[in-house]
């Protein structure tokens, strides 16, 4: 897969569909400007990794993609939907864009399989048999076929996070967002979650990740984006970590590795 340096790559440089396009996107919480005009493209099949310090705006940028945050300026197009225009159908968008959170957010009163089946049943209205089959399939995909009947509290953090990934996969999204999904896990459990994400990447899933795992970011990213003070400071392939062009990224990498 070719990595594009988005700063100077024309849209025609790739024939693959653009899934997400940020154009000078701005976002403020009150008087605090969190995104100060970011431009960014995510192509189908690519893994885009956002890195940066806390407060650099990377999680906010990610959350804008599925409408968890509304933008204050610029243009944001996701799966052909213009999120900068009023009247966006968020529910339709969210059937195409999945998200996995740092804190898993599994439904504690439901088993792993029920967590996975809930949205396909209620949103896509599929039958119970088909839903069970689907649950088996996606839980197997994350290596938890044997945990279908377990409740979240019976699972380790890593297993819970894998169920959360399966829950997202069950909606057959075109794009999945990962918001610091391993930040609450110890190194061993982090590994099992990262391996699942890696497999999805190899399977061609389009993904946008926010992560602090620098080694993983470098190995999995088709596009690596370093955010700083609410802007895209530096972007390119995973190699930008080896050869940072800005002192900010150099310092960040120095601290991170």
């Amino acid at each position: 897969m070719d990595a594009t340096l988005i700063a100077d790559a024309p849209a025609a440089a790739t024939d693959r569909e653009t899934m997400v396009r940020f154009e000078d996107v701005r976002k403020a919480f009150g008087t605090v400007e969190v995104l100060r005009g970011i431009s960014l493209e995510v192509h189908r099949g690519d893994v885009t990794v956002l890195i940066g310090r806390s407060g650099s705006g990377k999680s906010t940028a990610l959350r804008c993609i599925n409408g968890l945050e509304t933008i204050n300026g610029g243009r944001l197009t996701v799966c052909g939907r213009k999120l900068h225009e009023p009247g966006v159908d968020l529910r339709a968008l969210r059937q195409e864009v999945g998200i996995v959170f740092q804190s898993y957010n599994l439904f504690p009163h439901l088993t792993a399989a029920q967590n996975v089946m809930l949205a396909p049943r209620k949103v896509k209205r599929i039958g119970i048999r088909e839903a069970r089959e689907l649950a088996r399939e996606v839980l197997a995909q994350v290596g938890l076929a044997d945990k279908a009947e377990a409740y979240p509290e019976q699972l380790s953090g890593g297993q819970q996070q894998r169920v959360a990934i399966a829950r997202s996969l069950a909606m057959h999204p075109r794009l999945i967002l990962f918001d610091e999904v391993t930040s609450a896990l110890d190194p061993e459990l982090t590994g099992e979650v990262l391996r699942v994400i890696e497999r999805l990447a190899q399977g061609g899933m389009t993904m946008v990740l926010v992560t602090h795992e620098m080694g993983f970011a470098r190995s999995v990213a088709d596009q690596l984006v370093f955010m700083h003070q609410g802007t895209v400071w530096e972007a390119g392939s995973g190699d930008i970590l080896r050869d940072p062009q800005t002192p900010e990224l150099r310092q960040f990498v120095g601290n991170g590795l």
């Binding site: 999945g98 439904f107 504690p108 949205a119 949103v123 409740y151």
Partner: protein, 227 residues
């Protein structure tokens, strides 16, 4: 000072006592579910409804929680009479209990809903569930589970509160007791027996409600987590 206990009235008034027990149980049984539903609707309306629904819910909850039950019962019973609506003592009592316990349940359920982490709602709406699917399918089951012990207490209190219904001539347990002591002048013994019966009824109600919990919360059942 010596006092001769005399429980002879038990033989003579046994059937009356039993009828009183049945009426108390009947009022309670008829009020629990509607009261729970009313309270839950009010909690949801107050938290997530449009402004006018919120206002109605607040006025209802505060009006009920800040007036005595017996006044609410009179107000309903005589108010309905003024409106030319004729209903019996039993339906009037049940209606009053539902309205009363609904207000308290609304506050308990509101606490339950508010105790659920925001991430739950966020995750559910990110799965494209509608607002109402999130409320009824994700938040409600967790909210009920969290506040269930408080709900059980509230319904036991409601059962004990049926003891004022003889005021509108619904001759429940306490009403029967009042009559028996009026005939026998054995007030101390009568109310001792009545207190014992209430204790037994309360224990039974708790048992039944805990039984409901094992059916309603499969996770508790499977993991053996006590409520």
């Amino acid at each position: 000072m010596s006092y001769e206990f005399d429980f002879a009235f038990l033989d003579e008034y046994g059937p009356e006592l039993l009828r009183g027990v049945w009426l108390t149980l009947g009022m309670t049984a008829a009020s629990v579910l509607p009261g729970f539903l009313l309270g839950t609707l009010c909690a949801v309306g107050r938290l997530y409804g449009p402004p006018w629904v919120r206002r109605v819910a607040i006025v209802y909850v505060e009006a009920i929680r800040n007036t005595p039950l017996v006044i609410q019962v009179f107000w309903l019973f005589f108010g309905l009479a003024v409106l030319q609506v004729r209903i019996g003592a039993f339906p009037a009592a049940v209606l009053a209990l539902v309205i009363n316990v609904g207000a308290y349940t609304a506050e308990i359920m509101r606490a339950g809903f508010e105790s659920i982490p925001k991430g739950q709602v966020e995750a559910a709406s990110c799965l494209a569930l509608t607002r109402s699917q999130v409320i009824w399918g994700v938040q409600l089951p967790q909210a009920v589970e969290r506040v269930y012990p408080a709900l059980v207490s509230q319904f036991v209190l409601m059962m004990l509160a049926t003891s004022i219904m003889s005021q509108i001539s619904a001759e429940e347990l306490t009403g029967v007791a009042y009559q028996i002591q009026a005939f026998t002048f054995r007030g101390f013994e009568v109310y001792l027996v009545i207190a014992g019966i209430y204790v037994a009824l309360a224990a039974a109600l708790r048992l039944v409600l805990l039984g409901c919990a094992t059916v309603a919360f499969p996770r508790r059942r499977r993991l053996g987590t006590p409520l």
